[in-house]
């Protein structure tokens, strides 16, 4: 026991048979199973655990829960290094390696603690006032040094080797908080027949009951209820789990810490998205500190925390204690300290004290000072003495422990996250949750019921009501009563009295002086106060500082607490590792990848793959050239001179059937489809309701009532959804069914002068003659027992065929085409060559159909003619869309030999000032092997005529190239290559 000098000889909820070794700043220490890192440190007599954020003041353990502002440590090494963890929330584990933060070179001697000497200058807004200056120049220079000096722990630079999970879960009744109220609610809701999830951030259930001595009536109650809950088949007990967020639809975000599971290769943390039918908030309350000079010295602790360390962990943090309080609750800490052998002095702010308290105090030999507060503390790295001030003369009392209690604040964070403002209740001088939405209930001290009996009773009722809300109404046995000799926490406002530095927010180093300064400078609203002083902006989100700060501001303004209000609470309640939110969606699992049925062949045959949306497509084939620029030009040549093969499985494919199918197409395409003959295909353009071009593609009439539509790869999902929208909402009378068949068909394009010979060799059973299958014709057959469709369509401008085959036979069909095509010079080509071929032919694609262009802009107005009665027809006639000076599609050709065009270049007239948006821009460019020059497509203002010269300026490439406006169709304007 010598290694745990502050550990009591017996008691506590620790397993003395299981000692655990851990290290803190390199020292080897021991604790026991059942300890937190904080309790083990205290047991070892470690009182100094960190340095503060701004002034680098020495700090000790302040609390025993999630509200801890001071005792932040870094855990682990290498990739597992995790900073800013509150030692009070860390379950001690064998081999735990912890380090203190924000100190250099060591915790005991910290160079920057000199900051305290400069403290008069380091007030709120100091950095901005001093370093910002009239320009940002000064700040840019100093920022680096300032950031280095401030801050908390350092994050790991290595990748995190651990696994995380995201889980989806459901419950009828979710109960946040496993204290007496939550336990009681769980028992009632489970008895009523509800599926219950009981969520507790601690590794033990019980809440404040854990601070009662083992063997007490409260401990027996806890044991009985826990055993009963474990016996239910419909209760999920979720310890080590924090409800960090409340979301719409009664959804809770939970983070479970399972460091012990890591060794077994399981997830270290699990983020659970819990969808509940009803929620009971039994999240308890957090004790408020008192504000006085030097109230941040190591050895100053919340009174309830001292009681937890004493009774739950069998640690006596000090032998000479001063208990400073404004309420009855903290007296229990005084009594228990005295019973454990400490010399105790109580300083109560109230002038009149209950006789029962005084009787018990005198029995235990406790010195009592009524109407007294702590004026100041003495001591640096540990508290040495407290100066008490009251009605009489000031007295100084030697001490090594100061227990403070300024009353309690209900934990209203979660219930406020959806924008329901907490409501002030005068009788408890605190904020309780605002009105609950349907299906939400509150119980215990979270809603201001501060006695254990009240927590049990309100929990019981909330459990029954929540279960009933979910329709579970089996009879429920009466609540298990607990008669604990309890001292209610009555409120008495603590008015800060400070001569030196009196801290309100320990973590952000905000003092009463900062609040006074903010008030003087006009930052009176709590939201301004928060941003000006950084109050409440630490990792603890001001769990202990919120109320003292706003009551201080209220006092300065002469306003009431409700007039002053609270700041906004946002998720998460406690910090969450990004890894837990990501779960397994990391690296290549970050988002899905879509592969075509021919993907493996591409990879095996030297394709450089390119991500296009979620799809992986061949960019170019390395066999055609060393790099993309060399390869795409070579691939274009195969297509123009022999034959090329392209995987177009990514096109959106929609099967359209029904007696009114033709009418649907006639409405959604700007050009007519009603009279398309069976067995023929047509290019179609769709508009949005606002008259802008939406997408283009081809649709083939397979039969009288059946069509096969293709869309662009990018718009496949949007077109499908739009068709469904129109059928569901606008034209429910149309007898049409639309089905996405994108994944059912593999698709490949065979293009080039020898394409027909290749196809004929591959599919000898089909008649592919010009008469049987003319341009825009369709034929079908079988390949390998799967359906085969061939549509004669061209994107490249060459004679070309689109071959569709059942997806599972896609690779076999591709291999067949490659094999029989080889003697004809057929080679595969990638998307870069595909894009280049269409530029030569003047076909528009994504860069031109950019959500801003009309049919006329793209030179497609002739397709529509005088037709009307299609989607987008009315609004496409808006005056601004008919302006003759609108930018329209043109071709661009370099004027000077050896120059090249760049996509995105801005177009100016020669001699014009090269500023602003110019007359237009280049949308697509390619080298044209047929023309031996760079050509491009552009959108150019209507007043720059064909034949004129422009300058294409690309500022980032520092280019200005002379180009001539030409027809966008660079090759075969009559379309002779397509036919015959």
């Amino acid at each position: 026991m010598s290694s745990n000098p502050k550990r009591l000889a017996e008691g506590g909820r620790i397993d003395r048979g299981r000692p655990l070794e851990f290290s803190f700043d390199g020292s080897k220490l021991t604790g026991f199973q059942g300890d937190t890192l904080a309790s083990a440190l205290l047991a070892n007599g470690v009182s100094l655990v960190g340095r503060s954020f701004k002034y680098h003041r020495p700090r000790g353990i302040f609390s025993a829960g999630a509200e801890e502002p001071n005792a932040l440590v870094t855990l682990g090494t290498g990739g597992r290094r995790e900073p800013n963890l509150p030692a009070t929330m860390l379950e001690l584990a064998d081999g735990m390696v912890a380090e203190s933060q924000n100190r250099w070179p060591s915790l005991a001697f910290d160079v920057q603690s000199l900051n305290s000497l400069f403290a008069p200058f380091l007030s709120a807004g100091f950095y901005y006032k001093t370093f910002m200056g009239p320009t940002r120049r000064a700040w840019m220079f100093y920022e680096h040094f300032i950031r280095k000096a401030a801050g908390l722990g350092k994050a790991a630079m290595e990748p995190d080797p651990d696994r995380y999970e995201v889980r989806h879960a459901f419950a009828d009744v979710a109960i946040v908080g496993g204290g007496p109220a939550g336990l009681s609610a769980a028992r009632a809701a489970a008895s009523a027949g509800a599926r219950v999830a009981l969520i507790e951030q601690d590794f033990r259930f019980g809440g404040q009951l854990l601070s009662e001595r083992p063997g007490s009536e409260a401990a027996a109650w806890l044991q009985a209820v826990e055993a009963e809950l474990e016996g239910f088949g419909n209760v999920r007990l979720m310890a080590r789990t924090t409800a960090v967020g409340l979301y719409d639809g009664k959804v809770l975000g939970l983070v479970e810490r399972r460091d012990d599971a890591r060794a077994a290769g399981q997830a270290r943390q699990v983020f659970t998205i819990l969808r509940a039918g009803a929620i009971v908030f039994a999240s308890g309350a957090i004790e408020r500190p008192l504000v006085f000079s030097n109230n941040d010295r190591p050895g100053v602790m919340l009174a309830s925390a001292v009681r937890a360390y004493l009774n739950r962990f069998a640690v006596l943090p000090g032998r000479k204690a001063v208990v400073a309080t404004s309420n009855d609750g903290a007296w229990r800490t005084a009594f228990d300290l005295a019973a454990s052998g400490a010399r105790v002095t109580v300083a109560d702010l109230r002038a009149t004290l209950a006789p029962a308290l005084q009787t018990e105090a005198s029995r235990l030999g406790i010195a009592v000072h009524a109407g007294t507060h702590i004026a100041d503390l003495r001591g640096g790295r540990a508290v040495k003495a407290a100066r008490l001030a009251g009605a009489g003369a000031e007295t100084e009392i030697d001490c090594d422990l100061v227990c403070v209690s300024g009353g309690w604040s209900p934990t209203v964070h979660l219930t406020s996250q959806l924008g329901v403002k907490p409501v002030y209740r005068e009788d408890i001088d605190g904020f309780v949750p605002g009105p609950f939405a349907a299906g939400q209930f509150g119980a215990g001290s979270a809603v201001g019921g501060y006695s254990t009996a009240e927590a049990i009773e309100t929990g019981h009722r909330a459990g029954i009501e929540a279960a009933a809300y979910c329709g579970k109404m089996k009879p429920v046995p009466a609540a298990l009563q607990l008669q604990s000799a309890e001292l209610a926490a009555t409120a008495f406002r603590n008015v800060p009295r400070a001569r030196g530095k009196a801290f309100v927010d320990f973590q952000m180093d905000v003092t009463t002086g900062d609040i006074e300064l903010a008030h003087r400078e006009g930052y009176e609203s709590v939201e301004h106060l928060k941003r000006y002083t950084t109050l409440g902006m630490g990792t603890d989100q001001g769990k202990t500082s919120n109320f003292p700060a706003l009551s201080a501001m209220a006092a300065l303004r002469g306003a009431t607490i409700p007039e002053t209000g609270t700041t906004t609470f946002r998720p998460p309640y406690t910090p969450v590792a990004i890894g837990a939110l990501a779960g397994r969606a990391v690296r290549h699992h970050f988002r899905p990848i879509r592969r075509t049925p021919i993907h493996d062949w591409h990879v095996a045959n030297g394709a450089d793959m390119l991500e296009v949306g979620l799809w992986m497509r061949p960019y170019f084939y390395r066999g055609a050239g060393r790099d993309v620029n060399e390869a795409y030009v070579a691939e274009m040549r195969f297509v123009r001179e022999a034959a090329g093969l392209m995987d177009i499985s990514t096109l959106g494919k929609i099967d359209i059937q029904g007696p009114d199918a033709a009418m649907l197409l006639d409405r959604v395409y700007a050009n007519g489809f009603a009279r398309l003959p069976v067995g023929r295909a047509r290019y179609g353009v769709m508009l949005r309701d606002d008259g802008i071009v939406f997408d283009d593609g081809t649709t083939t009439r397979l039969g009288e009532h059946r069509f096969f539509m293709t869309t662009s790869t990018a718009k496949a999902a949007d077109v499908m959804s739009r068709l469904e929208f129109q059928l569901d909402t606008a034209w429910p009378d149309l007898r049409v069914a639309v089905t996405s068949v994108t994944d059912e068909w593999a698709a490949m394009s065979v293009a080039g002068p020898r394409s027909r010979q290749v196809l004929a060799a591959a599919f000898p059973a089909l008649d592919l003659s010009n008469e049987a299958l003319p341009h825009m014709g369709f034929t079908e057959g079988e390949f390998d027992g799967r359906a085969l469709r061939i549509i004669r369509l061209s994107y490249s401008g060459e004679r070309a065929y689109e071959v569709y085959v059942g997806a599972s036979a896609g690779e076999a069909a591709w291999r067949r085409l490659v094999e029989v095509g080889e003697p004809f010079g057929l080679r595969p080509y990638g998307v870069e060559a595909l894009g280049a071929l269409r530029v030569e032919k003047g076909h528009v694609a994504g860069p031109e159909i950019d959500g801003r262009t009309t049919l006329d802009d793209l030179g497609l107005g002739h397709m529509v003619g005088k037709r009307s009665g299609f989607v987008g027809d009315v609004l496409r006639r808006r005056p601004a869309l008919c302006d003759p000076n609108r930018q329209r599609l043109v071709g661009m050709k370099c004027v000077e030999a050896g120059t090249r065009l760049s996509g995105g270049a801005i177009l100016f007239k020669p001699g014009e000032t090269r500023q602003g948006h110019g007359r237009g821009r280049i949308t697509s460019v390619t080298y044209s092997p047929s023309l031996g020059a760079y050509v491009g497509l552009a959108l150019l203002a209507g007043d720059v005529a064909t034949g004129e010269e422009v300058v294409a300026v690309h500022r980032m490439k520092n280019e200005a190239v002379r180009a001539r406006v030409v027809s966008p169709v660079f090759l075969d304007p009559e379309g002779e290559r397509l036919h015959g």
Binding site: L418, E724, T729, S868, R877
Partner: protein, 103 residues
């Protein structure tokens, strides 16, 4: 996270759905050449703080377009119905019982 009670699939997370805009605007008939009507349908929105009628499609489920009534102040969803069969608010006139008091 919103939970949308799909009439076909039951309550599901909103990330299975696709938002499709205001369902309270009236789409003009296809052959309606009234520019103002189309302009109002495409561009003019009331956007009140309160109850909205919205189009949502259950894209990762039944793919039905739905009309969801949602309060934008608290995200409470008061009704979900198939867009294809909008709920008939009034029974056909001939079947309605005679009014007890004159209006």
């Amino acid at each position: 996270m919103l939970r949308i009670d799909c009439p076909c699939c039951g309550p599901r997370d909103h990330d299975e759905f696709r938002y499709g805009g205001d369902a309270s605007v009236i789409r003009p008939a296809l052959d309606d050449a009234d520019f103002e009507a189309w302009y109002r349908y495409v561009f003019v929105r009331k956007n009140p703080a309160g109850l909205h009628r919205e189009h949502w499609q259950h894209v990762l489920g039944c793919r039905q377009w739905l009309i969801v009534e949602r309060d934008t102040r608290n995200h409470a969803i008061t009704s979900v119905a198939l867009a294809r069969r909008p709920p008939t608010k009034k029974p056909p006139a001939k079947k309605s019982p005679p009014r007890k008091s004159p209006q």
